[in-house]
């Protein structure tokens, strides 16, 4: 085994950077979309309309119980059959791998986000929302100004977990040929024979991306729990697992 990490400064390194940009694009777009889907579906499930309940249940159960890779393949290969032909033709010239991957990942993680957000809303006492309604706030106001601000603090850690899962799952987009980092690694391995170096590099990059996401989550958490520390100045924010000896 002879590895020479200086090759990363040359062509392989350039390919990895190109892949990194694509990975970030994919992760950012699908994260925004997934949070949007999750917020809408989670809120609708929390409200619990009898009309929408079966559809939400079907969507969430199906999205959560099937592999993301198969979902990506499904949206990619059946696009030409699901979409109207002229639209598909326009998309095909443009290249719709990235779009299909974004859609599939957003739908997959949207279901997880929906469950997380519903659990967060459930953690706010029901009386808060009812009191807001009784005081004359409209439904969206009561949601946006009373329920969500209280839920969001509980929501941050599981949302960060899901966000890191999403960042990791972007690597699956290579199955349909999106040129993200894992795809570039395969290319480097196949054509430039610098597999192990490239693999080490992208492992480190993925790790850094996940750690950055965790760090950002911790900052958000600290910002959101500032009022609690202000109320109890002596109490530090509980370090995880300070309960058992």
């Amino acid at each position: 085994m002879n590895s020479d990490f200086s090759v990363l400064l040359g062509e392989p390194g350039r390919l990895i950077l190109v892949g990194l940009v694509e990975t970030l694009k994919l992760a950012a777009c699908s994260l925004v979309l997934a949070i949007a889907i999750g917020t809408v579906v989670g809120t609708v499930r929390w409200i619990g309309w009898r009309l929408t309940e079966p559809f939400c249940w079907l969507y969430i159960e199906f999205a959560r119980n099937t592999p993301p890779v198969v979902q990506i393949l499904f949206w990619y290969f059946s696009a030409s059959f699901v979409l109207p032909t002229p639209m598909f033709m326009a998309l095909r010239d443009f290249g719709y791998e990235l779009g299909a991957a974004i859609l599939a990942l957003a739908l997959y993680h949207g279901a997880f986000f929906a469950e997380v957000i519903r659990a967060g809303l459930n953690s706010v006492p029901k009386g808060q929302f009812e009191a807001a309604r009784a005081l004359g706030l409209r439904f969206p106001q009561a949601l946006g100004k009373v329920a969500f601000p209280q839920a969001i603090r509980v929501l941050v850690p599981p949302l960060v977990n899901e966000a890191t899962a999403l960042i990791k799952n972007t690597s699956l987009a290579m199955a349909i040929g999106v040129g993200e980092m894992t795809f570039q690694y395969r290319a480097i391995d196949n054509f430039l024979f610098r597999g192990l170096e490239a693999l080490t590099a992208i492992t480190v990059i993925y790790m850094l991306l996940c750690l950055i996401a965790v760090g950002v989550g911790r900052l958000i958490n600290r910002a959101l729990s500032r009022h609690i520390r202000a109320r109890h100045p002596g109490r530090a924010v509980l370090p995880a697992g300070s309960i058992i000896q």
Binding site: T66, P68, S171, M174, D189, L196, L199, I244
Partner: protein, 236 residues
């Protein structure tokens, strides 16, 4: 539309989806291989996760820090990258490996890190008053851990474990990216051969995975009923 379904759901296709080329060429594949990898990985990762999770919950630094490094190292990397490591690293040291083994090892280590976190959370979730009560009753340290902490922790972590088991069963589908004949790969081949029915082929795959994973969730949920659990395993 129905025509397409009939072309996907032929006996030959269904046989390939379920057992791969087991009867024609003696190679296991399809759903059977997926279940094989999935259950082996679940068993292995539960063992690893239990050990590492208990290490993680212990106050001793010598146990705590290696466990933390393992968890952080394996949790923050995509599973696909781990599969590639497990597949391409051993040959660099002259060790023979197989596709099946590398997927299994990668999946076990990856899920083990998550299960360690769940186990640790379960142990931490046992209320301290329980420990005090046990100590007041005169139980020793080992008795407390074995008879007070672990049983409660077990039931507390079952929902999270069910979720993780489903995720690792789903993650077996990555095997097709290094060319193992699992359910996804066979579905992809059938889709490529038919060419005109991708919606039906992939819906079939999704439904099969859905049934398996839903069944798995329900099985774990049965254990959450303590009376049922006691009758099943403890005969009381």
């Amino acid at each position: 539309m129905m025509d397409n379904w009939a072309r996907v759901w032929t006996p030959a296709n269904l046989e390939r989806l379920l057992v791969g080329d087991l009867f024609s060429r003696g190679q296991m594949g399809g759903l059977l291989l997926t279940l094989c990898i999935g259950f082996l990985a679940i068993a292995g990762s539960t063992l690893i996760g239990a050990v590492v999770g208990i290490m993680r919950a212990s106050p001793r630094k010598a146990l705590n820090i290696p466990a933390m490094l393992y968890v952080q190292g394996f949790r923050n990397v995509p599973l696909l990258i781990l599969v590639f490591w497990a597949y391409f690293l051993p040959p660099a040291f002259g060790i023979q490996t197989s596709k099946f083994l590398s997927v299994l090892v990668a999946l076990t280590l990856f899920t083990g890190a998550y299960i360690a976190e769940i186990v640790q959370g379960g142990i931490r979730s046992v209320a301290p008053s329980n420990l005090e009560a046990a100590r007041a009753l005169g139980l020793g340290q080992r008795q407390i851990h074995l008879w007070v902490v672990l049983p409660q922790a077990f039931f507390n972590m079952l929902p999270a474990l069910a979720g993780r088991y489903v995720v690792s069963m789903k993650n077996t589908s990555l095997a097709f990216l290094i060319g193992l004949m699992d359910l996804t790969e066979i579905g992809k081949q059938i889709g490529a051969r038919l060419m005109t029915a991708p919606v039906e082929v992939y819906l079939t795959l999704l439904i099969m995975y859905f049934v398996v994973n839903r069944g798995l969730t329900m099985c774990v949920r049965l254990l959450e009923n303590r009376q049922y659990f006691n009758r099943l395993f403890l005969r009381i």
